[in-house]
């Protein structure tokens, strides 16, 4: 009985908090027919927002993957002064509020920021335009790959790499033939998490974007501005697009997790 009771409490809590709200917006988005939802996500503004969100992913995810793997190799395989400090700093983006991230970027790259004058002199605009939004996205999704890969590397040990080296493999061959293949699922998991965050980031991007519809508006910003304008069907439809992406992310996470365990 108590086992059933606990199960009921756990599932009830999850249903009320997670499943029911998400299920309801799917219903609400399609309430007025599939056509209404479809035309809400194919307006010029919506298509532009989708494009911009994809741009964030295409730039931020590869950069953070390369940086993440390099950083993880450094942290797991080398000893150097200041290692503990870097180890702690890597997690910093998780601990900082997205709004603070946005503010911080404005204070460096904005018009009156530390680098603002130099950038303006060279005609480069970072804040209130795409580069700033990309930097914000990179900032908030920085730690995922590092955090997933470091434990995999530590578990793996160095025997195989040393064996390859004694057999005459070059540094590069060891990396591409031994190390990278063994950490690929860890990297994959990190990439999935990075992608989810890059697609879903709201606070940091909202601060640095300046919210110009059709110019610096990502999908998440579009959801908010539509909701504020009481365009509920439009907001729900765009939310459904984002929710579908996150469902894909969940499926990816589950599949990779199974691979990692096996």
């Amino acid at each position: 009985m108590s086992r059933l009771g606990l199960r009921a409490i756990a599932l009830g809590y999850l249903a009320a908090l997670l499943v029911a709200p998400v299920a309801l917006i799917f219903y609400r988005a399609f309430e007025h027919g599939f056509g209404a939802a479809w035309s809400a996500v194919t307006t010029p503004d919506a298509l532009h927002a989708l494009q911009l969100t994809l741009l964030m992913v295409v730039v931020a995810v590869p950069l953070n993957t390369v940086f993440g793997v390099a950083c993880a190799l450094l942290l797991a395989r080398r000893r150097f002064p200041g290692k503990a400090l870097i180890d702690a700093l890597i997690d910093l983006p998780f601990a900082v509020s997205p709004v603070v991230v946005g503010l911080a970027l404005i204070l460096v790259y904005g018009r009156t920021g530390w680098l603002g004058q130099a950038l303006a002199d060279n005609g480069i605009r970072v804040i209130f335009s795409t580069p700033g939004m990309i930097i914000a996205t990179i900032f908030v999704s920085l730690p995922f790959v590092v955090r997933e890969v470091v434990p995999v590397l530590e578990e793996l040990g160095v025997e195989q790499e040393e064996a390859a080296r004694t057999l005459g493999a070059s540094q590069w061959q060891v990396l591409t033939r031994v190390t990278l293949p063994s950490i690929r699922w860890g990297v994959g998991y990190g990439v999935v998490l990075t992608t989810a965050r890059a697609v879903g980031e709201f606070g940091a991007v909202a601060v640095v974007s300046g919210r110009l519809a059709g110019q610096t508006e990502t999908l998440t910003l579009l959801v908010e501005s539509r909701f504020e304008r009481f365009d509920l069907v439009g907001a729900y439809a765009a939310s459904v697009v984002l929710a579908l992406i996150s469902l894909a992310v969940l499926v990816g996470m589950t599949l990779i997790q199974r691979r990692k365990v096996a």
């Binding site: 599932l11 601990a95 998440t220």
Partner: protein
């Protein structure tokens, strides 16, 4: 360039008007109200999710039922779902047009609900692996010596789980302190009532009061750094044992 320099700029900007200016900005009535609300709601939310998270982890590890794999995947939904969508979904079900006839929009309960949503996975994911690795012989010994299930849980299982619960709760707390996207629509940003620290900072940036925004940011930063440091200390201690 991307992480350290900008954060240094925040700290520098917060003391633009000297320490006096910093103190004035942080101790303004609206800032204090926002910080206090953030702390109180975060503590409450983390306490609820520490209990519920442990319970859910227990059910996922020790119980068997059809669809368990799906439920386990659903736990990560708050990590995968954009925070603004989380806010929209919660408002759709519990907001002004709620089919249930409740309305949590622009209330502190609504703020708490949003934070419960986004912080749910932390404790579950921290406790689950520890519970899986836990030797059941101790529990069997306890119950064969006549301990009730509740006593066994309280005296045997809970002490073993405590470090994981604390670690998960600290991460959840750090997340709750800075949360913005899921809260911004639900709270309605009523100063002194539902305005949390992150929303306050956002409003100050909009009002061009950058120094005030930076000052409150520094308070948030200091709090989360403290949490981060204590979590890594905990992790190291467990590692050493």
């Amino acid at each position: 360039m991307i992480v350290l320099l900008p954060l240094a700029a925040v700290v520098a900007r917060s003391t633009d008007g000297g320490l006096d200016g910093f103190w004035r900005a942080v101790s303004s009535r609206e800032a204090v109200a926002a910080l206090r609300l953030t702390l109180i709601v975060s503590v409450a939310v983390v306490a609820i999710n520490a209990v519920m998270g442990t319970l859910i982890a227990w059910v996922l590890v020790r119980d068997e039922f059809p669809g368990k794999r799906v439920v386990s995947a659903v736990i990560d939904l708050p990590f995968a779902l954009p925070t603004i969508v989380a806010g929209v979904t919660l408002l759709a079900l519990y907001g002004p047009k709620s089919p249930l006839g409740v309305n949590i929009a622009f209330t502190r309960v609504g703020v708490a609900l949003a934070l419960l949503f986004v912080t749910l996975p932390f404790v579950v994911r921290a406790v689950q692996p520890v519970l899986l690795a836990l030797d059941r012989e101790m529990e069997e010994a306890a119950s064969s010596l006549g301990a009730s299930p509740l006593t066994t849980f309280r005296r045997i299982v809970l002490p073993n789980l405590r470090p994981a619960i604390v670690a998960g709760a600290s991460l959840a707390f750090a997340r709750a302190l800075g949360e913005f996207g899921s809260v911004v629509l639900i709270s309605g940003n009523v100063p002194f009532k539902t305005e949390v620290a992150a929303v306050f900072i956002y409003a100050q940036i909009g009002n061009d009061n950058v120094t005030g925004a930076a000052a409150v940011s520094v308070v948030l930063l200091a709090l989360s750094l403290l949490l981060l440091a204590s979590v890594s200390r905990l992790g190291k201690r467990r590692h050493d044992e």
